[in-house]
């Protein structure tokens, strides 16, 4: 129990997908201009990461390892992820056309969001149980969503600040991301997973 909690905290905060592993940076910079968009992206990605990690766990265990097809791992994982993304896209388009509009190109691009593949590959490396793998994937995704929303909040305020022309736009966003990563370093040592 304690190990599971520590593992989840580690996945969400200490080794945060964005701030510590530097994965999923394109959506991190791309759809964080508004909090609600970032939250929508976080939810969509959380769903995709959790579902595809579960499926990938099964594929890894019962297909790739069982038949010695390790070399096919990336291809099959991408296949599974792409399907999950397509499914998510359909649901969002049906349920919230405006969110669909706002996420725009970044929604199909979840497929190539390295955070998704990254988490799946990490799981494949670590040989966790199904439950642990699912929780790890969910915690990583939650950490991703948390940072997305925090960063969107910061950028919303940044949009109102009189940033010097030289730093306006991506430069200041990267500086903020760096400072945020620095703040998250405070968690280091809580969990070693």
């Amino acid at each position: 129990m304690k190990e599971t909690v520590m593992m989840m905290i580690g996945a969400a905060l200490v080794n945060n997908v964005i701030l510590a592993r530097f994965l999923g940076l394109c959506s991190f910079m791309g759809v964080t201009t508004r909090i609600d968009t970032a939250a929508g992206m976080g939810l969509a990605t959380t769903f995709v990461i959790t579902v595809s990690s579960m499926a990938d766990w099964a594929v890894q265990r019962y297909l790739l390892e069982a038949y010695g097809l390790g070399f096919l791992r990336t291809v099959t994982f991408i296949l599974v992820i792409a399907s999950a993304v397509q499914f998510t896209e359909m649901v969002i388009r049906k349920v919230s056309p405006s969110l669909f509009q706002m996420l725009g190109i970044y929604l199909p691009l979840i497929t190539t969001n390295c955070a998704v593949l990254g988490v799946a590959l990490l799981l494949a490396e670590n040989h966790m149980s199904f439950i642990a793998a699912t929780l790890f994937a969910f915690a990583s995704a939650a950490g991703y969503s948390l940072v997305m929303v925090i960063f969107a909040g910061l950028r919303e305020r940044l949009a109102l600040a009189s940033v010097p022309r030289l730093f306006a736009g991506p430069p200041i966003a990267f500086i903020v991301a760096g400072l945020l990563a620095m703040a998250f370093m405070g968690f280091s040592g809580i969990s070693t997973v």
């Binding site: 038949y67 097809l69 096919l72 099959t76 296949l79 599974v80 359909m90 405006s98 009189s162």
Partner: protein, 175 residues
């Protein structure tokens, strides 16, 4: 090798089938964006945006081929509404607002040819043939379509003076 091909093919087929089923149960109606945009535009088909009419402008907006600020008669209200509908940020400072100009007939030159009233998309010009025409202020959008049609240059656009009720405090100078 065969196992690899077979397993990939099976996986692909299974996922494809899943998605197909999902697509069947989650159909999406025709893109409502264009219709929504058309509803926001003035519909006077004045052509100042460079498109033939408002429907074409709405289509261009929906496909991202035009800026939300394309509609001069709509002013900032329409530009802001379009930007909100498309979920994009737009700089409204360049959009002029508040019916700055109105058409006026110079009565001493007007020949009563009726060309201007035919061009007006909001029926804002009244007057029968051989009679001096006049502009209904409330109906004029200041689009200027009549100005081009007038053979005697009797139509002009004149600025509307700011009234007490319409005066706006200037934005404070940046500190």
């Amino acid at each position: 090798m065969l196992i690899a091909i077979a397993s990939l093919a099976t996986l692909g087929l299974a996922l494809g089938g899943l998605l197909g089923t999902a697509a069947y149960y989650l159909p999406v109606e025709e893109d409502p964006v264009e219709a929504g945009l058309l509803a926001l535009l003035p519909g006077s088909q004045c052509g100042q945006c460079g498109f033939v009419g408002c429907a074409q402008a709405a289509a261009a907006l929906a496909h991202g081929e035009a800026q939300p600020t394309l509609c001069p008669p709509g002013g900032r209200a329409v530009a802001a509404a379009i930007a909100a509908r498309l979920g994009i940020q737009v700089d409204l400072s360049a959009v002029t607002d508040d019916r700055s100009r109105l058409a006026r007939v110079a009565e001493e030159i007007c020949t009563g040819c009726c060309r201007c009233s035919k061009a007006c998309s909001t029926d804002a010009i009244i007057g029968a043939a051989k009679q001096i025409h006049n502009v209904i202020r409330e109906a004029c959008t200041g689009c200027g379509a009549c100005v081009d049609r007038c053979p005697t240059e009797a139509m002009t656009l004149v600025p509307v003076p700011v009234s007490l009720q319409h005066w706006i405090w200037p934005k404070p100078a940046p500190a």
